[in-house]
């Protein structure tokens, strides 16, 4: 008995496994359990398998009205599943994840506890690098969990994981390129780009493809085959320009032929699509869909990107004023990526080879023998290796990544950066300020300069926070931390342009003291990049902040002024702080004097006179522990001694 569905991503591997099991044991009886109106309702019967419906409901995001419906349907689903389980009495219960499986596995578990179904086993197959919530939940009841990626094994009980790989449909295999092309009427020398959007189609890919098609087809040898998804060919603005060289197809039935005819695939990062592409050994541009549960498409894509088997192109976010972001594929990025592949055939070849290496060739055999082993009581026969899978930043929470970057504990590869840009852009459009704030931090640490216009909008937005927040002392929807961190991000980005200037000007006049202080410090940091006109603007804004009540703002303002101003008059303006109650402000003046002398703005004799007037007491001192000083010296010494010793010892062993 099979369960699992909701989307094609869960159904197709189930079908592939069913086919393989039937091949191995022609007497095997197969029954699918699924939900009405979802992908399985159409696919399963069309493949000649029996399908029965049960009730199920996705996990509610929060405890609310949804929750009651969830519980109700779950109970109905469990009852119906129990009936079906007792009627069919399966020897093997197989799930491919998806929320449909939850009631079935609960029923199965209860029945087994109650002493029924004694001789049956259960098998869960996880297709993605990051498992869904349903799979995580039912993995505790399954006898064995087959995984497609070694990366996902850490989510499951270690003694149950079996590294089976992804069950690619048996009809998809590497075939003869020439005969495939001949059957499609394509010349041998043409460059064939196959664009697939997964079982649900891909609006953002379609939208990006439409405007760049003419430019692509300028090259006489390029042929684009486009699987548009249902009904999408009309509304995507795609017109048939060249019946021969652009072929939109609603749904490709004979995928294998098309794969084998293709030179380059552009696809979503569903586990099925990716593994099929690898099986056929094709180079690809993978465009993961963002915002899916656990971002599993992004994680799938990154696994193959790390191995060099594909190029990942992330979706971007568009902002329409106050509205939340909408994801899209940047057509210029897509075009340049495709053109790079067309012009550099060697890269294409190398990627194809890497893809072939990763191809899950014996997955179906593995799954069949694993299930056989379970039935004969042999347990897991493909345990994942012990070697630690080096953790990817996508396995950490974004907030954690931001913290690690802040402490300088990780370094980013260009691929990591592009991944973080995608995450950051999406976070910037989140409803909760905490999430937007993480997005802002990530932008600063990953150097995502393209976001600056958006940052400026956020700085300028005077959209009020909800009433309850304002009653507690909040002000705007883009809260103080966000504005502070935007300023901080501009400082970290280290670029100077009109947006950076406007953001810092906003920051200097911000109602939140930390934003003003950081903005002043950013001005000081970036002053070496500024033109004279910008310096004047900044100086004007900074001078206003000399009236600030906050000592931190004063400190940073004084330092920043000393770095950009060419006006000796500045010294006179500092005079009113000579007896300031905070020594930190007076200390800032001393540091500012150093800057002014260094820059040749102020005459040393003048500064000497000014010092007569400055209160030079300080409420702070930093003591040190002599024993610990000496301890540090000793440790240094020990380290020096340890080095020559280590050499001979390692030689001997």
């Amino acid at each position: 008995m099979f369960c699992g569905g909701g989307t094609g991503g869960h159904v197709f591997p189930a079908i592939a496994m069913a086919d393989a099991l039937r091949l191995a044991d022609p007497d095997a009886k197969v029954l699918f359990l699924g939900v009405e109106d979802r992908a399985e309702a159409e696919i399963v019967p069309s493949r000649g398998y029996e399908l029965r419906f049960i009730k199920a409901h996705p996990f509610p995001a929060s405890v609310g009205i949804d929750f009651a419906g969830f519980i109700f349907r779950l109970l109905c689903g469990v009852a119906k599943s129990a009936v079906e389980l007792l009627r069919f009495r399966p020897n093997v219960l197989i799930s491919t994840g998806g929320y449909v499986s939850v009631p079935v596995f609960i029923a199965y578990h209860l029945l087994k506890k109650a002493g029924f179904l004694k001789r049956s086993v259960s098998f869960l197959h996880e297709q993605n690098a990051h498992p869904g919530r349903a799979a995580l939940l039912i993995s505790r009841w399954a006898d064995c969990v087959g995984v497609s990626f070694p990366e996902s094994s850490r989510f499951f009980p270690p003694d149950k994981v079996s590294l089976t790989g992804y069950p690619v449909r048996s009809e998809i295999k590497k075939g003869d390129r020439l005969s495939a092309r001949r059957s499609l009427g394509i010349n041998d020398g043409d460059f064939v780009i196959l664009v697939v959007g997964g079982s649900q189609g891909a609006r953002s890919i379609n939208n990006a493809l439409a405007p760049i098609l003419p430019q692509l087809l300028e090259d006489e040898t390029v042929v684009v085959i486009h699987s548009t998804g249902k009904g999408a060919s009309q509304n995507a603005g795609i017109r048939l320009r060249d019946g021969h060289r652009y072929r939109p197809i609603e749904f490709i039935k004979d995928m294998a032929t098309y794969y084998n005819a293709a030179d380059l695939v552009i696809s979503r990062a569903g586990s099925g699509s990716i593994h099929e592409i690898m099986t056929c050994g094709l180079p690809s541009i993978i465009i993961p869909k963002t915002g899916l549960p656990g971002d599993h498409q992004i994680k799938n894509a990154r696994v193959f990107e790390k191995a060099g088997a594909c190029l990942v192109l992330y979706e971007r976010f568009r902002y329409n004023g106050e509205k939340f972001g909408e994801s899209y594929v940047d057509e210029r990025e897509l075009l340049s990526a495709i053109r790079r592949f067309i012009s550099r055939k060697d890269e294409l070849k190398e990627m194809a080879e890497k893809a072939s290496e990763l191809a899950p060739t014996d997955s179906l055999e593995r799954i069949v023998s694993q299930i056989g082993a379970l039935l004969s009581g042999d347990g897991v026969i493909y345990p994942p290796g012990d070697e630690r899978i080096d953790s990817d930043i996508s396995s950490l929470s974004a907030a954690r990544v931001a913290d690690l970057l802040k402490d300088g504990e990780i370094e980013l590869t260009p691929e990591d950066k592009r991944y973080l840009w995608c995450i950051a852009e999406r976070f910037l459009s989140a409803e909760k300020w905490q999430v937007r704030n993480v997005g802002v931090k990530l932008v600063g640490f990953s150097g995502h300069i393209r976001v600056l216009p958006r940052f400026l909008d956020m700085m300028r937005s005077r959209r009020p926070a909800p009433l309850w927040q304002r009653m507690l002392g909040g002000d705007y929807r883009e809260v103080g931390f966000i504005r502070r961190n935007i300023v901080e991000a501009v400082k970290n980005l280290g670029v100077w342009n009109d947006y950076a200037r406007e953001i810092l000007l906003e920051g200097l006049a911000d109602p939140y003291y930390e934003a003003r202080a950081r903005a002043a410090s950013a001005v000081a940091d970036l002053s070496f990049l500024m033109e004279d006109r910008d310096r004047e603007l900044m100086e004007e804004a900074l001078l206003k902040n000399l009236d600030d009540d906050d000592f931190e703002v004063l400190m940073e303002t004084i330092i920043a002024l000393s770095k950009i101003s060419r006006n000796v008059d500045l010294v006179r303006k500092f005079r009113r702080f000579y007896y300031h109650s905070s020594w930190k402000v007076r200390d800032a003046i001393v540091r500012a004097f150093i800057n002014l002398i260094d820059r040749g703005v102020a005459d040393p004799a003048l500064i000497r006179r000014e010092l007569e007037e400055l209160l030079l007491t300080c409420d702070f001192f930093s003591p040190s522990f002599p024993l610990k000083n000496d301890l540090q010296k000793l440790i240094e010494r020990l380290k020096e001694e340890a080095r020559p010793l280590a050499g001979p010892r390692s030689v001997r062993s």
């Binding site: 909040g474 103080g480 931190e552 930093s622 440790i635």
Partner: protein, 377 residues
């Protein structure tokens, strides 16, 4: 122990006539203080070395990270020292059949144990974030608060006379303002958990928690003496169960001896904890001190007074609530520079010693204001 000696062997005619010293609360209090102080002075060095040797240190055993200007490597769990001194002295000098003392002993042991568990977990895992979770801590404190409340309000074990039990008294006012009935349980629970957490937050700089704690305990000790003395309590108009009624006495004299013992051992601890500290009290000390202070406040029916005399603790806990809960979690900005409040002063550039001494001064003045509420009623 000495109290029983008096009970058994006192005879004005015999050579043991000086045993009467073991009866008076005043003399026992002074002896208790001195005993606790001496016990701490004699044992502390050994305890500190033992703690260090066993790895109960700030930042654990990795001496490579003991920076020359930081306090990392300082032994934690100095609360053990306070506890040992106070316990030894209480066992020697208090009337151990007194129900006030039994409840206070229970509070001591409970909160001390909570602190030990918390500190041990932190040290074992090598991170200061992985002790008991906030919720676990609050649950453990609440459990004691609720049990204490039930014992005091509704059982015969309660040392508080029945007419006073559920009445809420405010400082500077001689009559109860409200009869809260069952809601008084809430007051007790809040007082105990508030005190334990407040002292916990205040324990951040050398000597910052111990001295204000010492002032609070001293004031409560004086209150206990006044309340427990029939003449004095009549003179200061304690306690009326209702307007125009007769005064009812709370026989809390033994609490004075207990407080005195605690003050002595706190002084002994300060001996070692004074800047730069040889030992930190850790949660062992702060939960223990806080829990005991909360329990004393409840037993003397002077809960609200704690907000005044423990004003430093109030500021610490309020600053955390304002900064972390409202500012950082909800509205997304810092309201203060840093929290708890002593970090704000550090951020402003004050040296640790200066902050600590200023906090001592403030808590001393607040203690005086609290004492004034004896007379100004």
């Amino acid at each position: 122990m000495f109290y029983f000696l008096y009970k058994i062997a006192y005879d004005p005619e015999s050579i043991f006539s000086f045993f009467r010293l073991f009866f008076y609360i005043s003399s026992r209090s002074i002896f208790a203080s001195i005993t606790a102080f001496l016990v701490v002075l004699v044992t502390a060095r050994w305890v500190i070395n033992e703690l260090y040797r066993r790895g109960y240190r700030d930042r654990g055993r990795d001496y490579d990270v003991y920076g020359s200007a930081t306090k990392s490597g300082t032994p934690l769990m100095g609360g053990i020292i306070i506890f040992m001194g106070a316990m030894a002295s209480v066992l020697l000098w208090c009337n151990l059949t007194d129900r006030f003392i039994l409840l206070l002993l229970a509070a001591s042991v409970w909160f001390f144990a909570c602190g030990i568990v918390d500190d041990t977990m932190k040290i074992k895992s090598g991170s200061s974030d992985s002790g008991l979770t906030k919720i676990q801590k609050i649950l453990l404190q609440s459990l004691f608060g609720v049990v204490l409340g039930i014992l005091i309000l509704w059982t015969d074990f309660s040392p508080i006379p029945a007419p006073l039990r559920t009445k809420l008294y405010l400082p500077f006012y001689k009559y109860p303002i409200l009869d809260l009935g069952i809601i008084y349980l809430l007051v007790i629970w809040v007082t105990v958990t508030y005190a334990a957490n407040a002292v916990n937050f205040a324990d951040g700089l050398d000597g910052l928690a111990i001295v204000p704690g010492l002032f609070v305990i001293s004031v409560y000790g004086i209150f206990a003496y006044v309340l427990g003395n029939v003449k004095l309590s009549d003179y200061f108009l304690f306690y009326f169960a209702e307007k125009g009624g007769e005064s009812i006495h709370l026989m809390s004299g033994e609490v004075t001896v207990f407080s005195a013992a605690l003050v002595g051992s706190c002084l002994g601890f300060l001996w070692y904890n004074a800047y730069p500290a040889d030992v930190f009290m850790g949660d062992t000390g702060s939960l223990y001190l806080g829990g005991v202070i909360g329990t004393i406040a409840v037993l003397l029916k002077q809960e609200v007074l704690m907000l005044i005399i423990g004003g430093v603790f109030l500021a610490e806990i309020l600053s955390v609530v304002i900064q972390d809960w409202i500012g950082i979690k909800l509205i997304g900005r810092r309201i203060l520079y840093r929290a708890p409040i002593h970090h704000t002063f550090q951020h402003r550039g004050l040296a640790e010693t200066k902050i600590v001494v200023r906090f001592w001064i403030i808590s001393g003045i607040l203690a005086l204001i609290g004492l004034a509420s004896l007379k100004v009623r």
